[in-house]
Symmetry: C2
Subunit: 353 residues, 2 copies
């Protein structure tokens, strides 16, 4: 463990299939990407070692750190963090906080991971509220919707900060140059919406972001902008609505196919096409979602994460840890406080320390 | 015009293709449903008569009422109503108000139709804010989302009233017995969400409605409930997101097909299946949306309404006008004020006057 490789903490007890999928996914990541990073599996050591023994993992750069407690999906986030101080989540996050690892991933209780990230890592200077976004496929690429459920009541400056964090993430991780930002509203005119979005509009208009103005629900899949900003109540409703589209279409197409054998045959042929489209709507492809606005790299995955999903989360964590996302967020937010920078998408940063 | 048939006012100047589609749709409705209703076309008389002359409409029960002004899609709703007192919208709505017709339909400026409905017809006793909902297809039937964009800021009692209006509409028009109602939230637990939805939850829980509790964005297409209640900001975002799904899928499937001739051939075969599914997501099938909570029957259609859409709006207007929706709304809201009725889905009403 004394190498200079990037170290990534995996909460081995997080997901619904822990530690099996966490261990299998870590091994996949390390086998496919040699000499890029090391993995620290945190959780019940006996269970983890038992899983490891089922794979040929002896030569891989994996270490295990014991944590005797587990935060479940049913636990109340803040209460669990106080009561279970020796949980895999708390122990793992503290390893990251102490600099013994450069990133953390978990497929566990989303609220608890968010709380632990905020409480243990702390907020980036200038960020009022850390946030979690969601990735949507669109006709033109990926669209990041932020906030996706973390903050149900937002003030205008929160929406502005979401826009900054989303924009930098879209630029640094998705490599979109000068990513366009839209404010979710019920119409395109500046006069539309409630007081919060009207005031957020003004903040965004006067910012160095590439702000395209108000967008509507239809503009997400259309891919009009790369980042759509909204409060977590609206974002969560859209995210969950979107997640239900594939199974709705499958049900409708099955009902259609049941009416004749010819139809059944035709739909059998087209399965591949539909799968390819639905795959784009699949959270696993994106490797979880980052907690934006905390002093570190914390990636949250779905409880049902497969080994492949865990692998993708580890790869994403490695990418975010090396992309300086947080330093860019801090500098852009500082710029907007002390006299805004020119409306340029390139922010000059001091040399890396 | 002296008959006892139901009379329906059609705003002949409303839609993007007015008066052509309004006239053609009216004629279709009357040809397909003889002796059920009469149509009063309101708008620029010369243009309307010119359109009528292109059809064989001489024997149909159509009358024309002249209105010299037109409210356009660009007009500000309230300003237009004040300034254009001789608009087809105002003249037509007043005919309904005066009892010279039993319903009104328009494919015009939605905001202006909503304002005219509220200002000219007035609100039903007990209704604080009239509302417009949206119909979604689901795995189990139609789901009415209310409010779909009319009221961006809502108090708990507004959400409660939307639930009452939606529930009665689902029962009387869609014939769902004891329709289940859900409150849109970011989780199912009663403790979730902002203060407004928490208080609305209590109102709904103690009401005679068939309230199933909080629902999430995914429950709309799943068809968990018949009525989903939310504020107009969230509702509008979901509605517009949903409307964009078919064209997103079309674009993705076309891109998939372009990669090979075989794929192209397969997708050609499946066009019918997809069209059949997308058809369910088509506003035209439902015949516009009603303004709920006003003293009358006012149906709003999309600006791009085809003759078929206009026809369906007329049929819907006839149905709503005979279904006593408003009287049921008034009685249920009155019941909730003066000691709530037992949690029964059947509301006993005084005999029809």
């Amino acid at each position: 463990m004394g190498s200079s490789l990037l170290k990534i903490v995996v909460d081995a007890m997080g997901g619904d299939f822990a530690p099996a999928n966490e261990v299998a996914g870590s091994i996949q990541a390390l086998q496919e990407h040699k000499n890029r990073f090391e993995v620290i599996l945190v959780g019940k050591e006996d269970q983890i070692r038992n899983e490891l023994s089922r794979h040929h993992a002896e030569t891989l750069p994996i270490s295990v750190v014991n944590a005797s407690e587990v935060i479940t999906m049913e636990d109340s986030p803040t209460a669990a963090l106080k009561q279970k101080r020796n949980s895999s989540l708390a122990v793992g996050m503290n390893l990251h906080k102490e600099g013994k690892a450069q990133a953390f991933i978990s497929a566990g209780n989303t609220g608890a991971v968010l709380s632990a990230s905020t409480l243990i890592l702390g907020r980036i200077k200038g960020v009022s509220r850390p946030t979690i976004g969601a990735f949507f496929p669109s006709e033109t690429g990926v669209c990041l919707l932020v906030d996706a459920g973390t903050n149900v009541d937002c003030r205008p400056n929160h929406l502005y900060e979401f826009a900054v964090m989303g924009s930098i993430y879209a630029k640094r991780i998705f490599k979109y140059d000068n990513p366009a930002v839209g404010l979710l509203n019920i119409g395109e005119e500046e006069s539309k919406g409630n007081e919060v979005v009207k005031d957020a509009f003004k903040l965004l208009k006067n910012s160095p972001l590439n702000f395209l103005g108000n967008v509507e629900g239809r503009d997400i899949l259309k891919g009009k902008v790369r980042v759509v900003v909204c409060d977590g109540f609206v974002g969560n409703a859209i995210l969950k609505f979107g997640e239900s589209v594939p199974s709705f279409l499958k049900a409708k197409l099955l009902a259609y196919a049941e009416r004749s054998l010819v139809r059944k045959g035709i739909l059998g042929l087209v399965k591949g096409a539909l799968k390819s489209v639905f795959k784009e709507m699949d959270y696993e492809e994106h490797g979880g979602v980052p907690v934006l606005g905390v002093n570190g790299v914390s990636i949250i995955g779905h409880g049902k994460s497969t080994p492949k999903a865990i692998k993708n989360m580890i790869l994403k964590a490695a990418e975010v840890a090396t992309a300086d996302v947080n330093r860019h967020i801090e500098h852009m937010l500082a710029g907007t406080v002390s006299g805004r920078q020119a409306a340029s998408d390139t922010i000059s940063l001091p040399a890396h320390p």
